[in-house]
Symmetry: C2
Subunit: 343 residues, 2 copies
C-alpha cells in the first residue's frame, strides 16, 4: 500500500495524507474529521511509509552501526544488549559487524556503515582514530577524537578496588596479567594499576607481570599466560587477571601446578560475566556495568544525532564494583620456597 493509492482511495492528494500522518504542523488547519478519515484508512490498509523512500527524502535512516571485536564474545554481547535495549525503544535499528581485530576491517566496516547511511556509530572495545561525518560513541575507547564521546570505566577506582582488597587480605606478592596489545583497555588498566600500587605502597615485581597473547575468546590465553608466569617459580600469593575468561584459564593453570585457589593463590578477575558467579569456586571480580555502558552509549549517540548542537562531554565515566566471591582469601603466611608456601 503506497501513499499515492491511499490518497486516491481517500480522494485526497498524497501531500495531504502525508502531512496528516506525519502530524506536521502544516496540517493544523485540516479539520479533525478529515484527519480521522485518513487515520482510519491508514489503519484499515495497514499503511506504512516505505522506508527507503522516506529515508531517501529525509536523509535519515534511524539506523546505527555497531562495530565490535566479535559478537559471540561475552563482553561485546553484554554491551550490545544494552545498546539494543535503548535503540529499539527509540525506534532505531542497528547493524553489527565484528572486526576480529583485523586492521583492514576496522577501517572498512565503518566505511560500509556510512555507505548504508547509518545515522551514527558505536565502537565497542575498538581502537578508534577516524573522524567521521556522523556522530560516534565508543565503549572503552581511549583515544581522544574530537566529536567522539568515550564511555569508559573509572579505571582508577577499579584498580583501587582490586588492589586494596588484596592488600587488606595481606597479599604483597601480587602477579598481574596484562591484556593483549590490541585490547583498548590494556594500557589504561595497567597504568592505573601502577599508580594505585605506588599509592598504597605495593611493589610490582616485573617478573610477576605476564601478558595475554593471541586473539581467542577462550580461557586458553589466560591458561598459557599463567603457565609462563609460573615457570620461573617466582613466588606470589595473588593474581589479578585481565578478565574473567582469562582468570578461568589461570585457575586451571594454577591447579595443574599444584596451587590451591584461593588457599595458595587468590585470583581476581575483571568484568563479572554471567558465568563468573558459577565457577567453582565463585570468581571474585571487578564488575564493569557493561549493559549500562551500552545503554549509555546508545543514549548519548542518539542525543548527538538529534541535537547536533548540544554540548556533550567527550567522556562518560561509569563506576566499577568489587564482587567478592570465593577466589580471594587471606594471604598465606610463612616463607615461600620454590613458589609454594610452607605452612
Amino acid at each position: 500500500m503506497s501513499l499515492k493509492k491511499l490518497a486516491e482511495h481517500l480522494d485526497l492528494s498524497p501531500a495531504t495524507v502525508s502531512l496528516v500522518i506525519n502530524r506536521s504542523s502544516v496540517a493544523d488547519s485540516i479539520p479533525q474529521e478529515t484527519k480521522d478519515r485518513i487515520f482510519a484508512a491508514a489503519r484499515k490498509f495497514k499503511y506504512r511509509a516505505n522506508f527507503f523512500a522516506r529515508s531517501l527524502r529525509t536523509q535519515r535512516s534511524f539506523t546505527v552501526g555497531v562495530i565490535v571485536p566479535e559478537v559471540s564474545d561475552g563482553y561485546s554481547a553484554s554491551v550490545m544488549s544494552g545498546v539494543e535495549d535503548y535503540l529499539l525503544q527509540e525506534g532505531y535499528f542497528y547493524f553489527v559487524a565484528s572486526h576480529r581485530h583485523r586492521a583492514d576491517l576496522i577501517d572498512e566496516y565503518p566505511r560500509m556503515f556510512l555507505e548504508r547511511s547509518v545515522d551514527g556509530l558505536i565502537a565497542v572495545d575498538t581502537p578508534w582514530h577516524l573522524n567521521l561525518s556522523v556522530p560516534v560513541v565508543t565503549v572503552s575507547g581511549h583515544n581522544e577524537v574530537k566529536g567522539v564521546t568515550n564511555i569508559v570505566l573509572n579505571h582508577r577506582r577499579a584498580a583501587e578496588l582490586a588492589l586494596k582488597h588484596l592488600f587488606h587480605l595481606g597479599h604483597r606478592r601480587i602477579a598481574f596479567m596484562k591484556g593483549q596489545e590490541f585490547s583498548s583497555d590494556t594500557q589504561v588498566r595497567w597504568s592505573n594499576i601502577e599508580r594505585v600500587a605506588e599509592q598504597i605502597g605495593l611493589k610490582i615485581n616485573p617478573r610477576l607481570v605476564t601478558q595475554l597473547q593471541g586473539d581467542s575468546p577462550s580461557p586458553q590465553l589466560g591458561y598459557i599466560a599463567t603457565k609462563i608466569l609460573l615457570a620461573p617459580r617466582t613466588p606470589f600469593s595473588a593474581l589479578f587477571a585481565f578478565n574473567d575468561i582469562s582468570a578461568m584459564g589461570a585457575i586451571r593453570a594454577l591447579r595443574e601446578a599444584g596451587r590451591q585457589v584461593p588457599e595458595d593463590v587468590s585470583v581476581i578477575g575483571f568484568d563479572d560475566i554471567q558465568s563468573a558467579a558459577f565457577q567453582n569456586p565463585g570468581l571474585t571480580t571487578v564488575r564493569q556495568p557493561l549493559r549500562e555502558m551500552g545503554r549509555a552509549a546508545a543514549e548519548i549517540l542518539l542525543k548527538r544525532i538529534n541535537r547536533p548542537g548540544s554540548e556533550l562531554r567527550d567522556q562518560h565515566i561509569v563506576e566499577p564494583e568489587l564482587v567478592i566471591r570465593e577466589t580471594t582469601h587471606p594471604a598465606p603466611t610463612g616463607t615461600p620456597v620454590a613458589g609454594k608456601w610452607r605452612t
Copy 2:
C-alpha cells in the same frame, strides 16, 4: 557525490554512467575508453550509489533481520557469529532484535523488520508460525511452516551420544533436566531422550525429571531445578542437564548437597559453550555446532532470496558431537542410602 553530478562532470548522462558502473549488458556497446573515463572519475570522487535510492528503485535491501531470544546469551551469540560471517562476506548486513521471550515482541519484531524491507529473516531459538512474504530460515525451530527452512540438530543422535555414554559408564539411575516450556528445543530433545532410553533399555524415573523455570541466562535456573531434584532424595548417579549453563548451576547445587562431581554424580551438559572446557572440572557435554548452524542458516537464506524457484529442503540437519571431559565418571557401586552412595 551523486550520480547526476558525476555524469555532469563527465559530460555524459546519468543513465550511461549508471549502466557502465553496474556493468549492465546494455553498456556493451560503449567503448572501453569511455568506460575507463567513467571508472576513473568514480574512483576519483569516491562515488558510491546512494543506498536508499538504489534500494527504492530495485526493491532490494541486501539486509536481513535476525531475531534471537537475547543477544547476550551465548547460544544466540554463537549462532549470530556464524550468520554474520556468511552475510558480510556476501555483501549483506543484518539487523538484530532480542525478543526476550515476550510473545508481543516475537510478533512485532518480524513486522518491524518487514517495514524496514529486509530481504529475509533468520529466527534463532524462537517459536515460529508466521508465514511471511520474505524467505525465512530458523535455527532450532521445529514448526513446519511451508517455505521456511529449519536448521536443526540431529537430536536423536544427541540423545544417543549422551545416554549411551552414561549407560556404558554403568549409570542406570539418571536424572534429567528439561528446558523451559518456551525453549524451542525442549520438546524434541525430550522426546528423543525418551525414545533412546527405551531403545537401550533404560528406565526413566519420573521423579528424576526436573525442568528449568523462568527466563534468565544465568546458571541460577539449573541450580534451582537441581535443588528441587535433590529434595525428595531419590537416588541418582548421573544428570543430563539441558545446557551447559544449567549444568554449571546443577554442579553447584550438587556440591552444596555434599555430592562430588563426578565421583558421586556424573553431569553432562549440552551446547559446548566456550567456558564449558574451563569449568573445574571440565564439563562433559554434547556439542552443537552453533557457528556452523548460523552459517548454514545464512547460506540457505541467501539461496532462497536469490534463487526463489530453487528446490530447497525444509530441514537442514547438523550433527552433534560428544565432548568427554571430566564431569562424567563410572557409576559408583553399592546401595544408595538417602540419596548418597555407601562405598
